[in-house]
Amino acid sequence: MAEQFIGKASEWKDGSRQIVRVGSEEIGIFKHEGQYFAYSNYCLHQGGPACEGLTIAKVEERLREDKTSMGLFFSENQMDFVCPWHGYEYDMRTGECIADRRLKLKKFNVLQKGDELYVVA
């Protein structure tokens, strides 16, 4: 397993990201709500740069008790990232494709050593 330095934790702002290559892996690393998430940058659909597109809250449809729709809302607690090629959308915290959660991007660990951050591949 290779560790690659990805910067100082003190310099990573919330909402920022990096794309790094570690050996044969291309990895997208996000900082979201104080946590780091790292995934393969190859979309499970047609291989697009899955981690390089828009980050956007999941869209939800809220239903009333009687099953009538209240309409569409942005989620208060789920952030997604979207492959810019075709719009495949992934859950930031799990790497699961939100349209079919059986599909998951390969996940990588991010290690913090003091103020230094490393992605492990």
Binding site: P49, E52, G53, L54, I56, F74, V82, P84, H86
Partner: protein, 413 residues
Amino acid sequence: MDLIADRGRRVTVEELNTTKLLAHANEQAKARNYKDMLIIDCDAHHYENENFREILPYMENDVFRQLTMSGQTKSRHSVMPGSMGYQDMGGRVTRYPLRSTEKTDPTRSRDVQLGERWMDAMGVDYSCLFPTGMLNVGLHPQKEMESDLCWAYNRWLTEKVLPETGGRMYSMLSLPFSDPEQTLRHVETFGHRKHVTGFMVTTVRANMAVNDNAYMKVYRAMEERGLSLAFHSGPNWGEPVFKSCNRFISVHALGFSFYNILHCTNWVVNGMGERFPKLPVIWIEAGLAWVPFLMQRLDHEYMLRPSECPVLKKKPSDYMRDMYYSSQPMEIQDMEAMECTFRMINAETQLLYASDYPHWDFDLPSTIYDLPFLSDKAKHNILGGNAARLFKLEPRNEAQKANLIKYGNYTAG
């Protein structure tokens, strides 16, 4: 550049560079050695609306030209009927909002340069250039304006754009189908021009009967010239039947298939395949799942009501197997269903690879190349061989030529 995400939050993404955006496509092209395989895209697009200042001066009618050109200042009015929808998914497909940020050489056609970038990245040798906004030209309330806009676009495309592509881009030109006489004039005027392999009818139209007697001379003119007739589909939220749809996904998923199903049905049951057996007909951008449905549906009804289709000498599905289909957007969800579809349409000889780039649901060549049930011959044919035969396009290197010869697709030279 910042894109607007949820609740007005801004997300910084890099400015658009097509080559960089498609770097992974280029990795696929190298890994699969596409350079030895002729790859022909039969459906790609540009945004001709960004070139109206160049296109509109080609309009023939002085009054129409003045009307449209005067509206080009400060976007005072639109020239083309609009299409309501959210192709860019709220900016999720970033090449839409970022398109204007991409840098090109101002001394060359921007559309050609962008085309070369994505073609090179994907490993595509030739692409058929179609417009985007003009896919709605059939909804124009003035048939004279529809005709003049097609005329101007076709002149501009064949005189200014295609000659700049070094032969790598070709087109099936837009027809003003609301006016059969003008449609014929377009075929007679432009049919012999370089890089023109046929003509395209946009199928999003309020009223179109492809079997109308008025069009027979058009089909004959194309058949005599060895040209192809393509029907290019699209969505239309304004179509009465789709007004009950509350989501764009519904309009998009159904619309493309709906219009092709409609016009293909009229084409087949009226025996157009018997009347013009040497006219290649191509159904574009409706995916493939609709084809087996329509084959079964029409065959079933034909067996019960043959007296309504007396021109037919074989089943509707047999005529449909004589026609061509573009591959995109290929519904790769159930591989067994896909394999069955390929068998039913004789994909090995009748399917043409299409990317639809740069539109949001484009397909890479790997969507064909990676199918587990295809033979090498089928892959070569679908990705380029079938189109090479149909459009008489030449290989770009010796390895491609050898493969065309190997699989019986070398007709040029």
